[in-house]
Symmetry: C4
Subunit: 252 residues, 4 copies
């Protein structure tokens, strides 16, 4: 096995596609969006990437079969805009791997003459989010202005310093290759998978790509999650007084 | 020293052997089973594998001599089924090492034209196990069905996501090489070496391999362990009130 | 991408320059000094160094654009002394990277026929510093004596054992190449960015280089920081009794 | 800089020397013994080994100069037995480095036709040691018997499983090269530098090597340490009631 191993199933014929990256991360926001797009557009898997920089483990699927840790690239032709969608179940667990795997995907982006990259993720604020917000960062000044038109917010203090992993490196290493790239970060608590934040990111992305997508599946997941959060809140409120009693009993 | 160093003592003449992996892990279940089979079938050591991905240490044997961290492969011819048994005192401590060492053993498996791989381990549930259960995962759909016949359980929620280390990677990397492989995980608390869980795994494995083995040594170890657990339970019960008194005395 | 990648913008024509290193570290003392000098002398950036040993992330600038983790080298000609100034937003996060990146900068130092290296940093003492002090270490005995003339203190017990990272390795690896190098460490609490300590280090460095610099910007930052510390002290004093009440209320 | 870099000052002319390793470790026992022998026999430094597997730092000496992390090899001719003594201020901080650096020293051992290796260290038991004891391990059965004659103890349960680092790997990797090697571990608390334990190890080693050494310096250090321990015990006894009072005052 090589350090990075690519299993290419098919060369897609795409016209200056946009690459969308949604790998696991904060609130799983990026991955939720990428998977939704893959599903709704019926995108086709064109390659898998394996690497010893991924965790040394297999995922067990619901049917009892296993899948080795990997990243996957999907392709999709559409009237508005051809797409390459990068998703997967893991990011690198080593420093070096993050750089090398990102470079590999930038090589592929260049082979496909990608016109722009959107990286998607969550920005954890440590508390429940009241108003859905999508923060942005870009590797060219003019992209910042363009993104503001689609409702992306750019704030001096946020996303507080740095963007870690593939979502950040595709911008940083893309800059060195002069590939325009934007990062869209959905504000999220950071504690839970957050389909509501994913919905906000997806809305902005569709606007930017002039893409119409059925959002129902994402809305359903967001509503389910809302119910989970309500239950968690109730449990928390119910638990606080009980805990206090125990402590009192314990000290006396 | 190379990154991975193989000391081969002998080429075994085997007929489409099955490879069984039992390296250290949760409850030491896999290793207990592998060692029992090696001992009962009087299997012969055919190679040792050393690597700088193992911990930088030696084990001290009871006679005062030392053994460098290693993995070992044993061979055994039998009427029912020839076997290659992989055991050892360590697994890789690096991410990369896990992949490279597994690939090395898959190379050897292919040289010996292995027909199937069984990887063995424990699945820790964080509490004492009431009913011995063997959970499974496989790298081909048809193996799932076959294994159910031998009493292996496949559950949607368990083994909760992922199988880490050699037991998982032999399936995942074996899948890429089209080598059929099954993982058998004995349910165990995860806190103690668990020969009882090992006995359950061994029973299933013998059924699958149509192998008859004297199980007495394993039963004896399981009974000994039962006594240890009884003592631990008693100690725990005895200790709780005493601890409370101390705390009270401490606070007053 | 190579393990270490250098983007050289320009070969500077310098006369036996002195190299000054100020990378992020304790109290950010070194970086504050390096940035002040770069700004005041209007030094020109001559190269950037990227490496997979830096954290896999981008910094988000205030205007919404991003910068990949990097080190930077600036050049500046002046009447008294030509300078090469090394700064950046990161140090290596791997053991190996620390050595390799330092070696790379020593190669560059030798190409420019650097006459001496000054490395700058903070020495954290775990409490607020009463009297600003600059501690020193050097890779040649005669440098110790020379530095004492500029007010650098050398103490048997301090800087307690070892100097970690680029500030230390430039001295240690420089010693093997016979490049004279001095480390100046401003005493600092270690809890906060410390422009006051940076001011003390800068004062000593200017004396050693016979350099006159406008210190106003640094003084302003130090004064701002003083105010922050005053506020923190007040908050702490205000909080202590409040916290005690809570605890009492909580226990009763 | 190479991964491992050797600066050889001199080829020593030695007759089947014994190699003694005493690098930093538990209670610093091994290093104390090695340094004592180097000093008493006036051994000559013949090489230094640098590596990026050592911590990326320099030590600051009492005179303000610095030393890069390194290992050192000393040679000494004597009537009884020529010696090669390995000491230094660091061990590898990476897994791989431990193996590679040990292999490098075994290469050197073979160049010098070393007849045997003694590795020295401490065995931490988590409490003050009542009776000085030296535990042993060896990479050949006959060495176990020989060592018992010099007062080395071999116990089934101790040194509890494994010997980590150079002291262990010189035995384990030495075994693969058929170089006889013994590890001597002085029992020690593990909390403090322990010259008394070092004295015990040195006594056994001198007996085994038929070497007479002035032990006064070691005895003096051991006595100093005894005083430190007495003071620590007194402080502890004095502190316990004081702490209790504080707690009472705090709770009421």
């Amino acid at each position: 096995m090589d350090e990075i191993e690519i299993h290419e199933f098919k060369k897609a014929k795409l016209n200056e596609p946009v690459m969308i990256e949604g790998l696991p991360g904060v609130g799983n926001v990026g991955k939720l969006v990428a998977e939704h797009i893959i599903h709704e557009l019926n995108a086709e898997k064109i390659l898998e990437l394996y690497s010893w920089h991924f965790p040394p483990q297999v995922l067990v699927n619901n049917d009892g079969t296993v899948s080795l840790s990997k990243n996957e690239l999907y392709a999709c032709k559409s009237k508005e805009q051809d797409l390459l969608i990068l998703s997967g179940d893991q990011q690198s667990v080593t420093n070096e791997g993050h750089y090398l795997i990102t470079e590999t995907f930038l090589d592929i982006a260049q082979q496909y003459e990608v016109s722009r990259i959107y990286t998607l993720g969550g920005y954890g604020i440590g508390q429940l989010v009241e108003k859905q917000t999508v923060l942005g960062a870009a590797n060219k000044t003019e992209l910042v202005e363009e993104m503001k038109k689609y409702g992306v917010e750019f704030r001096e203090e946020e996303p507080g310093g740095s963007i870690v992993g593939a979502s950040g490196l595709l911008l940083g290493l893309g800059q060195l290759r002069d590939i325009p790239a934007v990062c869209l970060l959905g504000m999220t608590s950071g504690y839970l998978v957050d389909p509501k934040s994913a919905q906000a990111v997806l809305t902005v992305l569709c606007r930017a790509l002039n893409l119409e997508l059925n959002m129902q599946a994402m809305k359903d997941r967001a509503e389910e999650m809302e119910k989970v959060i309500e239950r968690l809140k109730e449990m928390e409120q119910a638990q606080v007084p009980r805990m206090r009693e125990e402590e009192l009993g314990y000290i006396r």
